[in-house]
C-alpha cells in the first residue's frame, strides 16, 4: 500500500514535468505553424504598413537593436561599478547592507512600474521625450539588479591568491581590481549582462508606458528619435482583429525568439569558456 502511494506520487510528479514540456512544445509549434509562412527576407526588411501582406519588421528590429545597445552601454559600467563597491569595498558596512536589500527588492518590482518611473523621470522631468534614449535608460534601470548580482558572483569566484599576489607586489586596491580581478571575471560578467539583456529585449510593458509608438513607418536615426521595438510591434499586430495581422505577429515572435536563442547561445558559450578557465 505504501509502495503504491509512493509510485502514484512519482507518476504525478513526472506528469507535472511532462505538462511543462508539452506546453513549451505546443507554444513553439503553434507559433511556427502560424508564422513560418510569413517569414521571408522581405518581411525582415520592410517597414510597417497598414496592409498586413506588405508589413515588415525592419523598423521594430532596428528599434530593438538601438535600444538594447544603449541599454548595455548604460547598464554594464553602472552595474559593474556597483557590484565592485558592494563586493570589494563596502563589505559589512551598514550602507552596503541597505543597498543590497534595496537591490533585492528592486529585482522584484513589476516592470510596468519601471515604465511609470521612466515616464515621470526620463520622458518628462529630464525632457528626453519618447525617444530611444528614454527607453534605454528605463530598461537599463530594469536590467541593473541582474547585472549587479551576476557581476558579484563573478567577482566572488576570483581566487584570493590573485589579489594577495598583487598586493604583495605593492599594487593599490584599485590597481589590483582593475588589472587582476576584473580581467579574470570578464566572461562571468558578460554572461550575466547578456542574460539580463535577453530579458530586456523581450520587455514590452515599460516601453509602452513611457510612450514608445505602436505605429511608426521608419527606423530610428539617432538616440533622440521616436521608436518602437519588436515586442511592441508584435503586441500591436496581436491586438488587431484581422487574421492576417495575427500571422505577422507569429512571424514577429519567431524573429524575437531567434534573437533570444542567439543571445542565450552566446551566454552559454561564454559560461563554458569561463568554467574551463576556472578549472585549469
Amino acid at each position: 500500500m505504501k509502495r503504491r502511494a509512493d509510485l502514484a506520487f512519482r507518476v504525478l510528479a513526472t506528469g507535472t514535468l511532462i505538462v511543462a514540456l508539452i506546453t513549451l512544445a505546443a507554444l513553439v509549434l503553434d507559433v511556427l505553424a502560424d508564422g513560418a509562412g510569413r517569414l521571408s527576407w522581405r518581411f525582415l526588411t520592410s517597414l510597417a504598413s497598414r496592409r498586413p501582406e506588405d508589413a515588415g519588421i525592419y523598423h521594430a528590429l532596428a528599434g530593438s537593436v538601438w535600444v538594447i545597445v544603449i541599454t548595455a552601454a548604460l547598464a554594464l559600467p553602472l552595474g559593474v561599478a556597483a557590484a565592485i563597491y558592494l563586493e570589494e569595498y563596502g563589505t559589512n558596512s551598514r550602507l552596503a547592507r541597505f543597498i543590497e536589500i534595496n537591490i533585492a527588492n528592486l529585482a522584484a518590482v513589476p516592470s510596468i512600474i519601471y515604465g511609470l518611473l521612466g515616464l515621470g523621470v526620463f520622458v518628462r522631468f529630464m525632457g528626453m521625450g519618447r525617444s530611444v534614449m528614454a527607453g534605454a535608460c528605463t530598461l537599463a534601470l530594469l536590467a541593473l539588479p541582474v547585472v549587479i548580482l551576476s557581476t558579484r558572483e563573478a567577482l566572488r569566484t576570483v581566487p584570493k591568491s590573485i589579489r594577495e599576489g598583487s598586493y604583495a607586489l605593492g599594487a593599490t586596491k584599485w590597481q589590483t581590481i582593475w588589472h587582476q580581478v576584473l580581467p579574470v571575471a570578464v566572461p562571468g560578467i558578460l554572461t550575466g549582462l547578456i542574460l539580463s539583456l535577453s530579458r530586456a529585449i523581450g520587455e514590452t510593458a515599460p516601453l509602452i508606458t513611457i510612450g514608445a509608438l505602436t505605429y511608426i513607418p521608419f527606423a530610428p536615426d539617432g538616440v533622440w528619435s521616436p521608436f518602437t521595438v519588436l515586442p511592441i510591434q508584435i503586441f500591436n499586430w496581436v491586438s488587431r482583429p484581422q487574421a492576417a495581422f495575427k500571422e505577422n505577429a507569429a512571424a514577429g515572435i519567431l524573429v524575437l525568439l531567434a534573437l533570444l536563442l542567439m543571445m542565450n547561445a552566446a551566454a552559454v558559450f561564454l559560461r563554458d569558456r569561463f568554467q574551463r578557465q576556472g578549472r585549469s
Binding site: N102, A108, R124, T204, A205, L256
Partner: protein, 293 residues
C-alpha cells in the same frame, strides 16, 4: 599622495553607482506619490478604494478601483492554482527523486520556460489556449480570465519550482536519514519531513510568485480584455490593474489630466501590493536561512 587621492575618487564613484539603486527606489516612490497626491485631490481616497465602478475615460467618470483589483486577484488566483501545486510537485521531484542526468535536462527546459517573453505568452493564451478551452467551456468569451491565468501559471512555474527546490536542498540530510531509519518511504520523508522543514523557504517562494502574478502585464493585456468588471467568473472579459495602465498608455490621453493621473494612482497601489509581498518573502527567506546555518 596622488595615487591615494585617485583611490578615494574611484571608491566614491563606485559608491555612487551603488547608491543609484537607492535613488531608483526613491524615484519610483516620488513619481508615484506626487501624481497620486494630485489624483487624490480630485477623487477622495475612500471613493477610489471602495468604489465599484471604474470608468475614468467616460463622459461621467467613476473612479472606484475595486473592479481592477478584483480582475488582478482573479487572474493571479488562477495562475497560482496552476503554479503552486505544479511548482511544488516538480520541486519535490527534482530535489528528492530525480537522478542527476534528468535534472540536467529538466532544469534548462524550465529556464527556457521562464525566459520566454511575456508578449509571446500573451499570443499563446489568446490564439491557442483560449480556442482550446472554448471547446470545453462553450460559454467562454474570446477574452477571459481563465486562459491568461493558466498561461501565467505555467510562466511562473519555473520560479516556484527553482526557489522551492533550493529551500528543500538546504534541508540537512540528517533529517532525511533519520526518517529513513524510522522506516519511512521516500514519499513520507519528502512530504512529512523535508517539506515541513523547508516550509518557510517554500512559502517565501510562493509569495514571490504571487507578486510576479500581480505585476504581470502583457499576458493579461492581450488575452483578458479591457473591461473593468467586478466579477468572479473566469469566462468573461475583465481588466487588471496592469492592463489598465497599458490601455491608457496606448491612447492619446493628454498629460496632466485626471485620466492621465489614474495610471499613477493605480501604479502606486500595484507598487504597494508587490512591495509588501516582496518584503514578506525576503523576511521569510532570511528566517529560513537562520534556521539552517
Amino acid at each position: 599622495m596622488r595615487p591615494r587621492r585617485l583611490e578615494r575618487v574611484i571608491e566614491l564613484a563606485l559608491l555612487l553607482s551603488a547608491v543609484l539603486s537607492v535613488l531608483t527606489t526613491a524615484g519610483i516612490i516620488i513619481v508615484l506619490a506626487v501624481e497620486t497626491f494630485e489624483f487624490l485631490r480630485a477623487v477622495p481616497l475612500v471613493e477610489f478604494l471602495t468604489g465599484t465602478e471604474w470608468t475614468p475615460l467616460f463622459a461621467s467618470p467613476r473612479f472606484g478601483v475595486l473592479p481592477l483589483i478584483a480582475g488582478t486577484v482573479l487572474v493571479s488566483a488562477i495562475a497560482m492554482a496552476v503554479a503552486l501545486p505544479m511548482g511544488l510537485l516538480s520541486a519535490i521531484y527534482l530535489s528528492e527523486y530525480a537522478p542527476e542526468p534528468l535534472r540536467r535536462v529538466v532544469k534548462p527546459v524550465l529556464e527556457i520556460l521562464a525566459g520566454v517573453p511575456t508578449v509571446v505568452y500573451g499570443y499563446f493564451a489568446l490564439m491557442f489556449v483560449t480556442p482550446l478551452l472554448q471547446r470545453v467551456f462553450p460559454q467562454m468569451a474570446g477574452f477571459n480570465a481563465l486562459s491568461p491565468g493558466i498561461v501565467m501559471g505555467i510562466m511562473i512555474l519555473p520560479l516556484v519550482s527553482s526557489l522551492a527546490e533550493d529551500a528543500m536542498r538546504a534541508v540537512p540530510s540528517g533529517l532525511r536519514e533519520g526518517a529513513y531509519a524510522l522506516g519511512a518511504t521516500k514519499m513520507q520523508t519528502a512530504l512529512q519531513v523535508v517539506v515541513p522543514a523547508a516550509l518557510s523557504g517554500i512559502t517565501a517562494a510562493f509569495i514571490l510568485a504571487v507578486s510576479r502574478a500581480v505585476g504581470e502585464t502583457m499576458i493579461v493585456a492581450i488575452a483578458a480584455g479591457q473591461q473593468p468588471r467586478l466579477t468572479a467568473s473566469p469566462f468573461v472579459p475583465l481588466e487588471t490593474m496592469t492592463a489598465y495602465i497599458v490601455q491608457v498608455s496606448l491612447g492619446d490621453t493628454p498629460q496632466g489630466t485626471l485620466e492621465y493621473r489614474t495610471i499613477f494612482a493605480v501604479g502606486m497601489l500595484l507598487f504597494l501590493m508587490t512591495f509588501a509581498l516582496n518584503l514578506a518573502s525576503t523576511w521569510l527567506r532570511e528566517r529560513f536561512r537562520e534556521e539552517y546555518s
